[in-house]
Amino acid sequence: MIAVDIRKRLLGAQGEFSLEVELHIAQGEFVALFGVSGAGKTTLLRCLAGLAEPDSGVIRVDGQTWSAPQTKLPVQQRRVGYMFQDYGLFPNMTVRGNLEFALRKGTNKQRVSELIEIMALGELQHRKSDSLSGGQQQRVALARTLAAEPRLLLLDEPFSALDHETKLRLQDEVLRLQRHYGLTTIMVSHDVSEVYRLSKRVLILERGRIVADGSPADVFGASQPSGKFSFAGEILAIDAADVVFAVTLLVGNQIVRVIATADEAQRLKPGDRVMLMSKAFNPVLIAC
């Protein structure tokens, strides 16, 4: 069980603000930290790992004080598995070397072989880590994190650099390993679909404060299903066509074109972010 009650002053793009978080996380929970860049998500993770120090407050994990005024448990003794945004793999070591280096004293090297097998790294194990692609590095980073037998798993945007397919596969792997080892996990993410797939609980962080805490369905407002579609998109172009205007939008990776009235078109300009909503009277569903 993790109990966090900390404050730390941060400098964001819009000036100073303070990270003020009070939070309880149960053993084995998978929690997502959601929010825009600069909301304090990574700082919260770093405070938990011991890489940053809160200005005040307490962090207790399983009855042990990790951080309190005048007490700080060194990073090395916290046994957190921290997966960094840039992976932090050691370029001088091979894939296997990275994993072996992570082993705790007295751990059987068998664990490395096991992880190599689970993460399908067999073919890569003798390659230097900086010769791998982004997705491969991410897999190695995850395997290395697990090799150290962490008590708490901290993932900082672990799937950000991946293509869609690799992302789905790795997400499944993370979920399986997390359940297998019963690991308490905190993941920073910008991606709603990722949060839905992986976590049972999501915290939304805005300028250092938790503004929502609940299941992804509750927090993202899908608890009462409606017949409406709504998508966030960005306006690429507005063209006049006879009496109406054609607005070209980017929604996800798709470019769509919709009609707008002259009145609407006047209030919009290319580059604006908008919500695109539509009533679904008769949607067509095609399996893909």
Binding site: L51, Q76, F84, F101, D130
Partner: protein
């Protein structure tokens, strides 16, 4: 008139001992400078760099004063370690360490600074101590800069003249290094002997530097291709 190998051997002995001591002191210093946030960092960096710009005679003059038994430092060294620093080999080593310090520290420090802080942090979260991290993660990842630092320091010590002349003098087998011997022979019009020392120094320095460039190219290529 003869010339012998003694000044050359002494030169290489001096350079080897100096480089070895520099590695022991300079590499930790470079690491500390690379990651410290102290307000005094610019002052410390300036001090480290001073030998780059000071005329060797200025440094030699002050070292001569400091090393002299009538000065507290010289007296203290004589008392504590039994070391006589003026006109002796150990004095030359100490002076060379100070004089070649920036040549080792600069490349190594910039090597450490070019490493992502994520590397140390990753090692710490994996339970590794600062020492283990330094030894197994940081040092192996700055090999080209380490090599450059070691070779520059070595080569620079070989080429020293002013400082050695000021505090070492010209004692055969003790402080008469090759660069001094050349000067001495030229003064005595023994051009053959001067030429011998000069040619050997030229050849050795050229070979060392060439080896470094070839090795560095291989290191860089290996990093680039893997």
């Amino acid at each position: 008139m003869g010339y012998d190998w003694q000044p050359l051997l002494l030169t290489f002995k001096l350079a080897t001992v100096t480089t070895f001591i520099l590695c022991l002191i300079g590499i930790p210093c470079a690491w500390w400078l690379a990651q410290t946030r102290t307000r005094f960092k610019p002052v410390l960096e300036t001090l480290v760099s001073m030998p780059l710009v000071l005329p060797p005679s200025v440094l030699g003059f002050y070292l001569l004063l400091a090393f002299s038994p009538s000065h507290w430092f010289g007296a203290w060294m004589a008392h504590i370690a039994g070391l006589k620093l003026v006109f002796s080999f150990s004095g030359l080593v100490l002076a060379s360490v100070i004089f070649s310090f920036p040549f080792l520290v600069h490349p190594v420090q910039s090597g450490f600074q070019s490493l992502s802080p994520g590397l140390s942090e990753a090692a710490y979260t994996l339970g590794k101590s600062r020492w283990q991290t330094f030894l197994h993660v940081l040092l192996p990842n700055i090999k080209p800069q380490l090599l450059a630092g070691v070779v520059l320091a070595f080569a620079h010590t070989i080429g020293e003249f002013g400082v050695v002349l000021m505090i070492g003098g010209n004692m055969p087998g003790q402080t008469r290094v090759a660069s001094i011997a050349i000067y001495d022979e030229v003064e005595a019009m023994n051009y053959d002997a001067a030429n011998f020392y000069a040619l050997v120094l030229f050849g050795v320095c050229f070979t060392i530097l060439l080896a470094v460039y070839l090795l560095n190219k291989r290191l860089v290529m290996r990093v680039g291709s893997t």
